[in-house]
């Protein structure tokens, strides 16, 4: 187990280099970012050249990448076009987004798995159909609309929440945004759990457990659920990264200045230093999440072993 973890941690090194290089090249092929800095008019050529030199854009792409990587190892992640340090941006954005993601994941686990268990055990019953319709609504109606409607109802009509999240973004203000962010994933988690539960409900070990006369609750939680969780855990693991980097819409609606927003801005302004910095951290989060998921496999199913 220990050796497996170390090996996985070591694999992060090539992934780190691969990702930074790939993202760096991608931002590079988007073209010259300077033209966008002067509004609806042309930058005068001298200032544009000067700006290019300042951001190192006049050098070859390999040169740019190498000097960027060199700087990273001294802790310098570069500067955004508005003069802010990228590390500063990350320091404000990541804590907020991590809180938002935690709220969303908790919703996925609590609501998603509960609904999945209930519908899995009652396939074809009204509750199953009801949840299926909810699922369809969540998939067909854009997050933008669900978010907006919740914001209007809870924030303006009923005054239960504030429509926008303050810049400190405490947990309680993130509950509704977290629910909106989790909504589509909830559909996945519910359906995955439902299918798994329905499948395993007929497995031998469940029959055995029931035959032994174990209480129903214990059978469901200990035997059935635990064995049904692997696809769900896999999905939630992959979702961590997607939620963190892809919360652009939710963050916009509720005015949360998190990772999704910074990344989106960085991409639109074609600022490689912001984009590569943020994506690199996100990929490291993925790797950690995936490692945890793989370790959870062994916990959930003792037959799975890692050497």
């Amino acid at each position: 187990m220990g050796r497996y973890v170390i090996r996985r941690l070591l694999q992060m090194i090539p992934v780190f280099f691969g990702t930074t290089l790939l993202i760096f090249l991608m931002v590079y092929v988007m073209g010259d970012p300077i033209a966008g800095l002067c509004g609806d008019r042309q930058c005068d050529p001298a200032t544009a050249a000067q700006l290019r030199a300042e951001f190192g854009l006049d050098k070859s792409v390999w040169h740019q990448y190498l000097s960027y990587m060199g700087n990273i190892f001294t802790g310098d992640f570069g500067t955004a076009f508005n003069g802010q340090k990228v590390t500063e941006l990350m320091a404000t954005a990541f804590p907020i987004t991590i809180r938002l993601t935690v709220v969303a994941i908790v919703f996925e686990i609590v609501i998603g798995i509960s609904l999945g268990v209930v519908t899995g055990l009652r396939r074809g019953r009204p509750v199953d159909t009801g949840v299926l319709i909810l699922t369809l609504v969540v998939i067909a109606v854009p997050t933008f609309v669900t978010g907006l409607l919740l914001q209007l109802l809870l924030g303006v009509e009923w005054g239960i929440i504030k429509p926008s999240v303050s810049s400190e973004a405490p947990l309680d203000e993130l509950i509704v945004p977290g629910l909106v962010l989790a909504s589509v994933s909830l559909a996945y988690v519910t359906r995955l759990t439902r299918t798994s539960i329905a499948e395993n409900a007929r497995a031998d070990y469940v029959r055995t457990a029931v035959a032994k006369g174990l209480p129903r609750r214990r059978v469901v939680v200990r035997h059935l659920l635990r064995n049904s969780l692997i696809p769900v855990v896999t999905f939630i693991g992959t979702d961590v990264g997607a939620l963190m980097g892809g919360a652009i819409v939710t963050e916009r609606i509720f005015n949360i200045h998190g990772v999704g927003y910074q990344l989106y801005q960085g991409i639109l302004r074609q600022n490689s230093q912001t984009v590569v910095g943020f994506v690199t951290v996100l990929v490291l989060v993925f790797l950690a999440a995936n490692l945890i998921v793989d370790l959870l496999y062994a916990v959930l199913d003792p037959r799975i072993r890692y050497a």
Partner: protein
């Protein structure tokens, strides 16, 4: 097993944390009356807040509160009036003597002197400082030395600027420009305190100026709190205790916050909400003209667009656009159909002339089709209108313009939108002359002068003449107008130049953009200036 137990514990802890904190209280702004604080929506400025480096409205808002220059544009009429300047004189429209009032200081106590101006202008013009608005100093003699087109600067300061004494300095221009004093209200021309040069980073994190407000707190990317400066020497003292600017990444959210009572002022009501404004805000909504015009530009570097026939096609296209309907349906009358190439905020006296474009800017289905067909049809068979998809929701109106043209032509593919992913990419395609069809263009005035709506856009090789249109007659008239020392004559000469645009239709004027703002019932006396920036210092808290 161990893992499972731990995971369950973590879930419970998170749930406890959620419920424990799920009882946050609301906070309300400061008291009312003269010391009341106004909260207002804001966008994250794109550039560091240096005056000569701020070229968009969000940074401009702050500079307008924190700085005062020689000249200030009247928030209502847009007319240039002396603020710090005692007088600005010239005998020949080329050599100016500027005398400033003696009683101005920066909020840190430093006196505002002639040198405060000259140093600031030299800083703004110098190539090495990377100031994006450096071109504002281009008319001052010696600009080409401190800011050459290529290579490095051969002088550190503008030779045209000379400090005479504590309150007087002179400026020599490289050409005659009678209206030059009227340009000095732009933020790039404000004075700067010494600390700007001695401790630049500290200044950037909390700018110090000489305006009616001081910055109390600035959290980059999220908020800025400004407070009234009680010792402000100017006449336009702030009527409220201060302004709290809050960054919104989406103006929809800002609007929702306004309707929920969490925000006092939104200076950019999203188009999709305009239908609800009456129900949500009643009469607490402003819709006033701003110095912004939107146009369709054409590539004159492409042979097919630079022919006499193409003039007919462009005129026909202009007449095929149902401006009234689009401004009604898409913009809910927050834009006004354009009938010249300037803006209503200039006023009749300043050179705005309604209907100058004549029938060429009026919707006429039959005539439009006839003209386009006479001109040999749309070059290439299809008009592609390029726009950037990332900001400004241009898709809607471009689609509407295309539908209008398609209906006239009786062909659903005569015109299509051409989205470009990012603004930077769009601008670089425009400036490197990659576009072969039309593209959207918008011009926000720098100062309320007819010159600013014409010369930078249509003069041969002017910096914002992206389509590379060139007309000798137009250039001559502009030169003549600039040399005119009588303001009224200058304006009519500029209008003569504008008439060349009617004949040639190098760009199609679409509509004038208005500023639209909504405010809460906590505040009153809210207005927008001609730059569509709220006049913050006049807002009163009830």
């Amino acid at each position: 097993m161990r893992g499972a137990t731990r995971a369950r514990w973590a879930v419970c802890a998170a749930a406890v944390a959620l419920t424990a904190t799920a009882c946050g209280g609301g906070d309300s702004g400061g008291g009312g009356g003269a010391d009341g604080i106004v909260s207002s929506s804001w966008g994250d400025p794109q550039n560091p807040l240096e005056p000569a480096n701020t070229n968009e409205v969000q940074g401009g808002k702050v500079l307008d509160m924190v700085f005062r220059g020689l000249v200030r544009y009247d928030p209502k009429t847009g007319e240039a009036q002396n603020e710090i300047a005692e007088k600005i004189e010239s005998k020949d429209s080329q050599n100016f003597t500027i005398t400033i009032k003696d009683n101005w200081t920066f909020s840190n106590g430093e006196k505002v002197t002639a040198k405060s101006f000259v140093d600031a202008w030299n800083y703004g013009a110098a190539l090495k400082n990377n100031q994006k608005n450096a071109y504002f100093f281009q008319y001052i003699d010696g600009y080409d030395k401190v800011h050459p087109e290529s290579g490095s600067a051969s002088a550190a300061t503008l030779s045209g600027l000379k400090v005479v004494n504590g309150t007087t300095f002179t400026a020599k221009l490289s050409q005659k420009f009678s209206l030059w004093p009227d340009t000095l209200g732009y933020a790039a021309f404000v004075p700067l305190p010494k600390v700007f040069y001695t401790d630049h980073d500290a200044w950037l994190s909390k700018p110090v100026g000489n305006g009616p407000y001081t910055i109390e707190e600035y959290a980059k990317g999220s908020s800025m709190n400004l407070r009234r400066w009680d010792d402000y020497p100017g006449a336009d003292k702030a009527q409220n205790g201060g302004i709290d600017l809050k960054v919104y990444t989406d103006n929809n959210t800002a609007y929702t916050d306004l309707t929920a009572g969490n925000l006092d002022l939104v200076d950019d009501v999203p188009a999709s909400q305009l239908k609800n404004v009456k129900a949500d805000l009643g009469d607490r909504y402003i819709n006033t003209p701003a110095g912004i015009i939107q146009t369709l530009s054409f590539p004159f570097y492409e042979k097919v667009w630079d022919t006499p026939d193409a003039v007919k096609v462009r005129k026909g296209l202009s007449m095929a656009i149902n401006r009234d309907q689009i401004t009604d349906q898409i913009f809910q009358k927050t834009r006004t159909p354009a009938s010249d190439w300037t803006s209503p905020v200039l006023g009749e006296e300043g050179g705005f002339k309604e209907g100058l474009c004549g029938s060429a800017c009026e919707y006429d289905k039959a005539e439009a089709k006839k003209l386009i067909e006479e001109g040999g049809g749309i070059p290439g068979g299809q008009l592609k209108i390029s726009y950037n998809a990332d900001t400004g929701s241009h898709k809607e109106w471009v689609d509407a313009v295309c539908n209008s043209i398609n209906n006239v032509m009786g062909n659903n593919k005569a015109c299509v939108g051409g989205p470009v992913g990012t603004f930077a990419d769009f601008r670089s395609q425009v400036s490197t002359q990659k576009l072969t069809g039309a593209w959207r263009a918008g011009w926000q005035m720098d100062y309320p002068l007819i010159q600013n709506f014409l010369q930078p856009l249509y003069y041969t090789n002017a910096p914002s003449n992206d389509g590379k249109w060139s007309d000798q007659k137009f250039d001559d008239l502009v030169d003549k107008a600039n040399a005119e020392s009588d303001k009224a004559k200058a304006v009519t000469t500029f209008q003569d130049a504008e008439k060349v645009l009617v004949e040639q239709m190098p760009v199609i004027p679409l509509w004038y953009q208005n500023g639209s703002a909504g405010y809460s019932d906590r505040v009153e006396n809210v207005s927008l200036n001609p730059f569509s920036v709220p006049v913050y210092d006049q807002i009163k808290v009830k």
